[in-house]
């Protein structure tokens, strides 16, 4: 398919995508989470006619607006980067991958951007009810947008609803609903949206906690913390629930990712879940070093989370690379899969080249038999089927720890908000401020687990990242990497400064229309 793979090109293409995804992901979960809180605050205003709720909705909408613009700007880069930097992927999977992106454009993006304009420019100009509907449509549009893009992403991790067309060398969609409702897609959507709730909530909590520590805008800040804590608690609960679903899906379909998440080199029955651990530096696949310098684990939990059976066998990295055989289970070694993959690709090549119909039929039969392994043809050594273990292991555990920290803080804030004493607990307010960066860390590390954990594949088992790039000079990618890095860095600094200035100015200057202050 591709004769010579340029690793410089592959690595810089990955770096460029990771960099733009990082910048994009700084803004998007905040946008998703805040839209619902703004809509809910505006609902309370419309129902009670209390101008303080409108002030709350307006102030957070102002910060949302600053964030929205750069989120949109970074989003378009990612969308088009599939074409510019991953053109082979775009052809090989475009029949499936393009459809959710187009659906996003038609169904979600127009909804969101149209009603964002109504939300911003309609305040005080159109009826309150129409304006409220616009607020909810913005929130709904943002979530719908996430649904489509996460469906596409889930398909890369768990390719379903498709078949390979050897005549034109691409995967083609055969079942739209299987793709949309695959367990990976449903779970990924719920997990990501709820993490957006958590980040949006903690942004509001952090800013409001700062106001309370400064003794500013007390009523505004207390109401904001209460509202955000409710959303934050629901969000963290959903994150845990769907996180369990994610672990189960990964165990079923991406065992290498699961093994890396847990630093599990030798598979076992009744495997425990590592709660905290330090990996042995320089550990390589196949050597005899102990993977851990130190670890604490809860017995049986990994088997249970992955397979809903405390005695289930969880394959380790060595089993996946070198193979495993027992009475109940056989795992084909990576080198065998590479051999099968090469058979598949040779058969495909013959199928495309020969004019002899008998030879063509035989080649097609052979290809069909070995097609599930076709991606392995481009793996250069068996160990490369395992993603970067330290990066995945630490990211996963940081994410989990940050998650438990967040749920404790948000529960505390809600408890004291209900008792109307939250302003008296300065330590908790400081933790509330810390919660915002922690929520981001949890979200970013979660993405690292999901995306780096999928490596070396763009489409799990079927297409390697190395084959997916555009066929261009690596210098073009390096040059544009630095151009985008410089541009986005400047814009992010500007965004943060604008945000901080708006936060410093505070909600006092926010105009409101409505009834008497409660």
């Amino acid at each position: 398919m591709i004769e010579n793979i340029d690793l410089t090109l592959v690595n810089w293409s990955r770096a460029q995508f990771a960099m733009t995804a990082f910048f994009h992901w700084l803004f998007i979960p905040l946008t998703i989470g805040m839209t619902y809180i703004i809509a809910f605050a505006q609902t309370l205003h419309v129902r009670t006619n209390d101008p303080e709720w409108e002030k709350l909705a307006k102030f957070w909408a102002k910060l949302f607006g600053i964030n929205f613009a750069i989120g949109v700007g970074t989003g378009i880069i990612l969308g088009l980067e599939f074409g510019t930097n991953w053109s082979n992927y775009s052809w090989i999977s475009g029949d499936i991958f393009g459809a959710p992106l187009a659906a996003e454009g038609i169904m979600a993006f127009f909804l969101e951007s149209t009603f964002v304009a109504v939300m911003f420019f309609g305040w005080g100009r159109i009826s309150k009810k129409f304006h409220l509907v616009a607020c909810y449509l913005v929130a709904f549009g943002a979530s719908l947008s996430a649904l489509w893009i996460l469906t596409a992403n889930a398909w890369m991790n768990y390719p379903v609803g498709m078949s390979f067309n050897p005549d034109i060398a691409r995967h083609e969609m055969v079942d739209f609903w299987a793709i949309l409702f695959s367990p990976f897609a449903v779970n990924k959507f719920l997990h990501t949206i709820s993490s957006g709730f958590v980040i949006g909530s903690f942004f509001i909590i952090a800013v409001s906690s700062w106001y309370l520590l400064k003794g500013r805008s007390v009523l505004f800040a207390k109401r904001s913390i209460f509202l955000a804590s409710v959303f934050g608690l629901v969000g963290t609960g959903l994150v845990i629930l769907t996180g369990d679903g994610s672990a189960y899906n990964v165990a079923q379909h991406q065992p290498a990712k699961l093994a890396a998440m847990e630093g599990l080199y030798d598979g076992k029955e009744g495997a425990g879940l590592v709660t905290v651990g330090i990996l042995t530096p320089g550990k390589k696949i196949g050597d005899n070093k102990d993977p851990f310098i130190f670890k604490q684990e809860i017995p049986y939990v990994l088997s249970f989370l992955g397979y809903r059976d405390i005695n289930a066998f969880v394959p380790g990295i060595n089993d996946l690379v070198y193979g495993y055989k027992s009475d109940k289970l056989e795992i084909v070694s990576a080198s065998k899969k590479m051999e099968y993959g090469r058979i598949a690709m040779q058969a495909l090549s013959l199928y495309k080249k020969t004019d002899n119909s008998e030879e063509k039929t035989m080649a097609l039969q052979l290809f069909t038999e070995y097609q599930p392994f076709m991606g392995y043809a481009h793996i250069t050594s068996p160990e490369k089927v395992i993603p970067n273990v330290p990066m995945i292991f630490y990211s996963f555990h940081i994410m989990v720890m940050a998650g438990f920290f967040l749920i404790a803080v948000v529960a505390g804030l809600l408890f004291f908000s209900i008792k109307n004493k939250v302003e008296n607990h300065k330590w908790l307010l400081r933790l509330g401020i810390l919660g915002f960066p922690m929520a981001f860390i949890a979200s970013m590390t979660g993405w690292i687990v999901a995306e780096v954990g999928r490596q070396p594949w763009t489409i799990q088992d079927l297409l390697t990242t190395s084959v997916s790039t555009s066929n261009i000079n690596s210098m073009a990618v390096i040059l544009t990497f630095w151009m985008f890095f410089a541009l986005l860095s400047v814009l992010v600094i500007a965004e943060v400064r604008i945000m901080l200035a708006a936060i410093k100015k505070g909600p006092e200057s926010t105009n409101t229309k409505g009834g008497e202050n409660a």
Binding site: M1, I2, F68, A69, I70, G73, I76, G79, F82, G83, T84, S87, N88, S90, W91, G94, D95, F97, G98, A99, L101, A103, E104, G105, F109, F110, L111, S113, T114, F115, V116, A117, V118, F120, F121, G122, W123, G124, R125, I126, N165, M173, V174, F176, N471, I472, N473, A476, T480, M483, L487, V490, L491, A494, E495, I498, A501, A502, K505, K513
Partner: protein
């Protein structure tokens, strides 16, 4: 419901849909045109703010339509997406950069702490205003003039110059369409501002700009149309699917498809009527005539590029690597699924119409640009 439609029916339907989205996108470039006129129409800070707040309330429509165009091409014609975006790399990356700076500039320009200052963000808007329409026009012109790529037996494409899209600028016909789209966007931008503001000084300057830009537009547009009608085009044999050069192919396409002639002529007349009504009749509604005319004209150009056995993205290096709506499209199943989704487009158009009307009911005045206004201000 759609089972009776053949794969080719759906391929044509999707070329029609993408042509329509592309045409609407060119009309919506009035936002870019307006951005390129900020300092020409606004001599004081208040005037510039009025211009920005007038066009700024529509930038998301253009942006979203652009994304829809790209995503629609990805879904319907993925081979075009992979070949053009992955090959004309620098052209598309430049295109992206100018849209990223646009996305933030409206929101950031007058915000405290914005790091770069209002002037820089207004310059960003101007850069986007000039570069985006020009590049889009130049890239669309390659639908006729061709590009330098080959495809291997697995349909993976390889660009044949290391300029990765910059070479588009070396072809006069590409430049002509690029400049024509730029000056058209400026005409439409001036017309929109005339329609959307209540400040006479700005309106008078905008009328003058309509006249000035019309002259430039006509020069480049007429050159492009002349070239289009006389050039050899990339025809496809419907039986063998072989691509070959045909003399006056695009003229032949116009003649073979009367609808495209009608659309083209009606479109051009509407654009001219919009200009005349704005300049001589002092009308504020010229944008609607010229806007509709733009959609019709561009639609005709897209029809000529893709229908009637024509390669819509030809390779002049290797004719058989050229892309047609048949070989570049998604599968029958995917196009069918996408067609069901496309039925939502009228709903989208309906709510855009109503929200546009709701927002534009109130024309921009000096009161609207005060930073302590009750609504959002750019």
């Amino acid at each position: 419901m759609l089972n009776s439609l053949s794969h080719f029916d759906l391929q044509q339907y999707w070329w029609l849909i993408m042509s329509l989205v592309g045409s609407i996108l060119v009309f919506l470039l009035f936002v870019q045109g307006g951005q390129s006129l900020i300092s020409t129409l606004g001599k004081t800070a208040d005037e510039r703010n009025m211009v920005v707040n007038s066009i700024g309330r529509k930038w998301e429509f253009t942006f979203t339509t652009l994304i829809l165009f790209a995503a629609g091409m990805f879904a319907a014609f993925p081979l075009f997406y992979s070949t053009s975006f992955g090959g004309a790399y620098y052209a598309w990356k430049l295109f992206l950069i100018v849209f990223v700076i646009q996305a933030v500039s409206f929101e950031f320009r007058r915000k405290k702490g914005n790091l770069l200052g209002t002037k820089t963000y207004d310059t960003f808007l101007a850069i986007n205003g000039y570069v985006a329409p020009f590049l889009l026009g130049a890239v669309v012109a390659t639908f006729f003039t061709g590009s330098a790529f080959i495809r291997n037996e697995y349909n993976l494409s390889f660009w044949q110059t290391e300029l990765y899209g910059i070479e588009i600028l070396f072809e006069p016909t590409n430049l002509a369409l690029g400049f024509a789209v730029l000056f058209l966007a400026r005409i439409l931008g001036a017309m929109y501002i005339i329609n959307n503001t209540l400040e006479n000084t700005i309106i008078e300057r905008a009328r003058k700009q309509v006249a000035i830009n019309t002259v430039s537009f006509l020069v480049f547009f007429l050159y492009f149309v002349y070239q289009l009608l006389v050039m050899d085009g990339y025809a496809v044999d419907p039986t063998s699917n072989q691509v070959y050069l045909e003399a006056n192919k695009y003229l032949n396409n116009f003649l073979a498809m009367p609808i495209s002639i009608v659309l083209f002529l009606v479109g051009v007349l509407l654009v001219i009527y919009g200009i005349i009504s704005t300049w001589f009749m002092k009308s504020t509604k010229g944008i609607w005539f010229s806007g509709l005319g733009t959609v019709c004209t561009v639609l005709a150009i897209f029809f000529v590029a893709g229908f009637n056995n024509t390669s819509f993205y030809p390779s002049f290096i290797d004719l058989q690597s050229s892309l047609t709506i048949k070989n570049a499209s998604s599968s029958h199943y995917t196009l069918t699924a996408m067609t069901y989704i496309s039925f939502l487009v009228p709903v989208v158009i309906a709510y855009i119409y109503f929200t546009w009307k709701a927002i534009d009911k109130h024309k921009i005045t000096k009161e609207d640009i005060k930073e302590d206004a009750k609504h959002h201000v750019y």
